[in-house]
């Protein structure tokens, strides 16, 4: 198959905040919902400093593992789950989504959400996965059987699996934590896929 040459990516730059974020962008479900879970973390650069001008996007299946194809992300009605959210990092480099735990996309598969990161200094967006950890949506068996995770050494594998912390608020208080390290020690495993040109 011969692909048409793609339009190259360019950086999101520093001035996207009036265009890309919207009210309610990071709340895929209302924070008060009984089954709401927080997914949060810090975006860091190669010096370990927080990145205050990044944009993180989250795309995930529903609780039943099915892909959602419903409009309404940009004008949330508080009831319709669209599976898509967006969060600009704050001055401390933090992002925070309120969502639900996605189900597995196939029998025995390890559930994950897809994340993409944009920032000034990144010429092209970065893609990664955030797997659900044991105890909060994931199982040791499914994580051990995942083909992507199995192909990585343990140190790098850990960058793809969320941790559980107690910053969730609410009754249980548990939250998913996933720092996104652009470069250097602890660098997140960034992904590329078939049919994407060099550089992902």
């Amino acid at each position: 198959m011969s692909d048409l040459p793609p339009t190259p990516g360019q950086t999101v730059g520093p001035f996207f905040h009036d265009a890309l974020p919207w009210t309610g962008d990071a709340a895929l479900v209302p924070p008060g919902r009984a089954d709401a879970v927080r997914l949060h973390g810090v975006v860091r650069d190669g010096a370990g400093d927080p990145v205050p001008d990044a944009l993180v996007e989250l795309w995930q299946a529903g609780q039943d593992g099915r892909v959602v194809q419903r409009p309404g992300s940009l004008h949330r009605d508080g009831h319709t789950f669209t599976g898509f959210g967006r969060c600009a990092t704050d001055r401390a480099g933090s992002y925070s989504f309120t969502t639900v735990l996605p189900g597995a996309h196939a029998e025995g598969a390890a559930p994950f959400v897809s994340l993409t990161v944009f920032a000034r200094g990144l010429l092209h967006r970065l893609l990664t996965r955030a797997y659900l950890p044991v105890g909060l949506g994931g199982t040791a068996e499914a994580l051990a059987a995942d083909p992507l995770l199995a192909g990585l050494d343990p140190g790098r594998r850990a960058t793809l699996v969320c941790e559980v912390d107690d910053d969730g608020g609410g009754a249980g208080g548990q939250a998913l934590r996933r720092d996104l390290v652009l470069q250097g020690p602890g660098e997140t495993v960034w992904l590329t896929y078939p049919r994407l040109p060099h550089g992902g």
């Binding site: 950086t11 190669g46 990145v51 200094g121 590329t192 994407l196 060099h198």
Partner: protein, 261 residues
């Protein structure tokens, strides 16, 4: 410490261009942006050290978010009607098609744009360029592609503006575009440039696309057939995303979404 000059940045850009032109015969052409590009100083601590890890797409990665009439007001495609009067500058129409790597139109999908005003100033609070803000121009817009994959915006031509990558650095005039395909792996944020811009070859961001043909794919074409009498000049710019990983079929959709959708 003395500031880096444009001459030094241009020398870095030229060295990369010459090395690329002298690549071995038969070496494939580069089709996209370099990941690491030292002339763009902000990239030095932000571009990953490791090459991206190859994986086959699964589950949600094979699909893109869905947007519809609920999400976007058709009036959002006109950036010249957001104030109480006409914005300053050259009114332009920018239109084109969003295609996937197989040439299929990307239908009903979200396109977002943002840009500086005609003076080269963003509304953004961190833009301190002492050029005038325009009370009638926010520089942001959205639309959905139609059944032919076509998007269309009415706006004004943005001005070039200075930035602090090096001494006397100026960005060529551009409109930022954010695009979705049918797979999340096709997600693209890029910039559309204007034909004949003398700043293009001096710019560390545009020149991070080293291959001249690839860089040209970021430049719109002036199209007099789009120009409207007594109203606006017209530019055409098609966007090609990477290839989809699935062949869209109705039963495929039904299987993935379940009955409820």
């Amino acid at each position: 410490m003395t500031e880096t000059t444009q001459a030094e940045i241009s020398a870095e850009i030229e060295a990369e261009a010459q090395a690329y032109a002298a690549r071995p015969a038969g070496a494939p052409a580069e089709t996209t942006t370099r990941r690491g590009w030292g002339a763009y100083r902000s990239s030095v601590l932000r571009v990953p050290s490791n090459d991206p890890h190859p994986v086959d797409p699964e589950g949600v990665e094979l699909w893109a978010p869905c947007f519809g009439q609920r999400d976007v007001d058709p009036l959002e495609a006109d950036l010249t009607i957001q104030g109480r009067g006409e914005p300053l500058g050259e009114r332009i129409v920018v239109t084109g098609r969003v295609l996937d790597g197989d040439g299929r139109p990307v239908r009903g999908q979200l396109v977002e744009v943002w840009q500086a005003n005609a003076s080269g100033r963003y509304v953004h609070q961190r833009d301190q360029h002492p050029a005038p803000l325009d009370p009638h121009f926010t520089g942001t817009g959205r639309c959905l592609t139609d059944d032919d994959g076509t998007y269309r915006f009415t706006t004004v031509k943005p001005g070039p503006y200075p930035w602090r990558n090096h001494r006397n650095a100026w960005r060529p005039a551009h409109v930022h575009f954010s695009l979705f395909g049918t797979d999340f792996t096709q997600r693209l944020v890029t910039q559309m440039y204007f034909p004949g811009d003398p700043l293009m070859g001096l710019d560390p961001i545009a020149t991070a696309v080293v291959d001249p043909a690839a860089r040209a794919r970021m430049v719109a074409t002036y199209d007099h057939d789009l120009t409207e009498p007594e109203w606006a000049t017209g530019y055409r710019w098609d966007v090609v995303l990477t290839g989809s990983h699935r062949t869209p079929r109705e039963d495929d959709l039904a299987a993935a979404l379940g009955e409820e959708a």
